[in-house]
Amino acid sequence: MPTLPTIENQLKEASQLTNAAWAALVEREAGKWRVLANFRLAKKTHPVLVNFLGNSEVDAWLSGALSGGQSRSVSLPEPDTLRAGRLFAFPLLGGSRVVLVGASQLSSESQRLWRLVISAMQMEVPSLEFSPSSSVAASLLVPDLDSESPYDMPRALERALASFVRLVSVQGGWMAVRRGDTLQIHAQWNAPSCADLALSIDGNTILRRLARNLTPMVIHRDNSLWEEIPHKGLKSSTKIWACMPLIIGQRLIGVLALWRPTAFKNDEWNRLTDMATQIAPAIETIITFAEMAGHLRRLATLNDFALTVSSGRNLDQIARHMFALLSRAFGTELIVLYLLSSDNRLLSEYRLKEGTMISSVDSAEEHRVAPLLASNHLMRLGEIGGEIQLPLYAKVYSGLYVPLRFRGQTIGVLCVESLENNAFNLYDENLMVVIASHLASLADYTRLREEAEGRARNLGLIHEVVQQVIGLTNPHEVAEITSDLLAQYFAYELCSVFIADERGDLTIGGFGGTSQSVVKRAMKSFEYPLRGGITGHVFETGESVVVNDVLQDTRYRSIKGWQAGSEMCVAICEGEKILGIVDVESSSRNAFTHNDFIAMESLGGILAAVITSADQYQRLQVMISQLSSTQVELQARMAAQRSAENRLVQAAKLAAVGEMAAGIAHELNNPLTSVTGFAELALDDIPQDSETRKDLEIVMREAARARDVVRRLLDFARQSESARARASLNEVVDDVVALCRHLIHTTGVTLKLDLEINLPWALLDVNQMKQVLLNLIHNALQAMPSGGEMIIATESVVRDGRDWIVVSVRDTGVGIPKMDQARIFEPFYTTKGNQGGTGLGLSVTYGIITDHGGQIEVESQPGAGSRFKVWLPQT
């Protein structure tokens, strides 16, 4: 039996490897159970466990396990008190001892491990006879708890080899473990050239024979097989080379080789072969241990990976966690993950550099891992070389390259490299395949999510642009708002929107982004129109472009102070017409995805619609203003036309009336002459004192009055023959005023003259104009029987595009009622019939003025006075 500390160490080691809560070696003695050794069994728990084992049912269960020699497990009724959900029992054969393990669960792998531990303990059953070889074999199984990997196979093999070397003196030797068709040398004694050699069994005569016969072989230097010895490093003095198989049943598990100058003696040889026979099971156990430890490590990695995957939020984070895991699992930091973009155009690279993860984007074409992506096969390389230009890191000896496949498509590749030779085995490969498949679905999901987010952002931008820009009529505003929004939504360093002006030059620009100031400054030194460069190309051809690396594009024209990496430029087109461009630039290469491009193109479409409608709106505005001015002009013309028509009708009316009046006057002339004449004659004949005389005098007076009327009527009818000459209206006014001054003065009216100096002359019949003024003054005086103010003014005025001379007579008299104002120029229309008015004064005036091509107007406010305005044409 090994010492108690050794057992406790084994319990501890196995517990840690299998995630057990505790472990104990218990023994049934005189019907009672006692704890011989334990790991992590607290003092308090001790009696609880003993008490629990004392339960008759538990006792029976454990005894059953002992007699059957089979391990078994049971759920614990009180998990809290024994700090484990399940109890596992591993019986030691041929005794009354059982190893109890408390754990929440033990996988079948873990259970297998425990069984191995138990079987190792059995070898130490005290009833076995002591032999040196068995003690060596036992010591091999003692884990080295100070080392990083306690079940380190190479170290155990080295110890085994050392015990052989101690048994007989040799020059050198090695011990190899069989793995498939090869023998991997894990330990060597005084033969460094043999370290880590992998020997093919089929490729070597000696090894082939050894594997077939499973018997030790001794080869002398003079034997023909000497040349077949599968390694170098033998000294010239070496004469004997011996190798012996390590066998379990009929299975070769490893080979031991030793060499020395002299032949082995019989007892030496017997000891060696005995030892080889004894040690073989221990070596088998060690190999199993090492493999188990590897499996467990991989399981732990997978477990951690599952946790990582479920907690990762984005690809960067997941990659970082995964890298940490893989570097722990494989002891290497040389890990690279490549992921294709959804359009398979770009390749994102994630790699560790001095402990931090950096990512970059590159074109997928002609990338060094492109053949890997295309071949779609996993690659495990021991010695790097071959067609594919790998490794990814310098000075590596092995690499594992696993494509990420999702739904039949390769979406990336996960690469792990190591500075050690043959660092990865088939199990590692399997582990990586599992991880890669998970990672693939995860990456695809994340990629989809990021893409969806990108699209949502694109849609958001378009929505925002539509909201803010639609309805704008100023293209400057459209350009500025759009470029601002672009910068806001995509955090591009430079966003610019250019819109062509009415001459087709790109003078209207808006800039956004962190580098806008640099470009704005540079823009000032550019001459409009913006030609050349990528933007110029787009504006000329209307063909939108994405340039992943501007330095590779011959069209690119650099801007001082701005280091562009990639550029995306779309045209704003309305049919064949190019209205402008939207240009977005980033300092990094490959910054734009296909989705970004599509979003930008739709943005271009929206802007085209906005600009076109703004343009149309402006044209509409111009048209409306033109129409409204035309309308105003038309209305003015129509008004002028109407007043001309009115005047014509009035003139025709007056002319007709005048003609009739003239006819009547003429007809009246003769009878009146007769009346006057005969009355006069009669008066002569009548005596002075006759009564009839007075009557006749009335006849005469009334006849005279009638004759006056007729005279005036005739004057009115005679207007056509007037003598006109260029004359000053101011002089006419002066003459008339001089004539009337006395009369004006006597009626108590104050007269004011407001004559325009340098009034142009007009073609006038001076006498007729005098008559007009006399009439107007006479009317004014009659309107102011109790005095007032009269203003006579002249001025030159432009109306309806013609030059006029205006003379106006204004009084502060009684005014003219509205209903009379329209008729006062008609002949015989009088409001002063009782004061001897004939109703001809204003109609004669009217006749004279229209005859001069002029107009007369009246404005009057009953009670406030009237103003007569005479318009005479200047020419």
């Binding site: 003429h666 002339n669 003769n670 009878p671 009146l672 002459t673 007769s674 006057t676 004449g677 005969f678 006069e680 004659l681 002569d684 005279a704 004759r707 007729v710 005739l714 005679r718 023959e721």
Partner: protein
């Protein structure tokens, strides 16, 4: 002295009668006609010193009467009455060798008498001047003979 004879022609009977009365009362020997054709016949049968004629008349107007009168009695004084005091009428009348123009309606009979007297005087002066100028050659011959 043989009284001055006047022929009054006016289609308006009232005016013709009025002129007849006024002039007769002033001592003129007056023949008044309302039909110009009859007046033209009168002119061929009797000598008048003055023809007082209205311009506007139907069928035969005043100017016709004047030209007929001047044909048969070149020395006759002509006074024109008109309701249309137009410049045209005046010019035409002067061209016809009229001696005066009277605007109808005249205010008082005095106006008519004044115009008649003026016309007769003017006519007399015109005739005297014409006679003198007709005799001028004879004078010249006589002067030459006596010289």
């Amino acid at each position: 002295m043989e009284s001055t004879s006047v022929l009054v022609v006016d289609d308006e009977s009232g005016i013709a009668l009025l002129c007849d009365r006024v002039l007769s009362r002033a001592g003129y020997e007056v023949v008044s006609e309302t039909n110009p054709r009859v007046a033209i016949e009168d002119l061929q049968q009797k000598r008048f010193d003055l023809l007082l004629v209205d311009i506007r008349m139907p069928e035969v107007d005043g100017f016709d009467v004047i030209s007929r009168a001047q044909m048969v009695q070149p020395d006759i004084a002509v006074l024109v009455m008109t309701g249309f005091g137009t410049v045209e009428t005046a010019i035409r009348a002067l061209r016809q060798g009229v001696d005066g123009l009277l605007l109808k309606p005249f205010k008082q009979s005095e106006e008519l008498l004044q115009a008649v007297r003026q016309a007769l005087t003017d006519n007399q002066r015109k005739r005297d001047t014409a006679r003198v100028s007709a005799l001028r050659p004879l004078f010249n011959v006589t002067e030459t003979l006596f010289a």
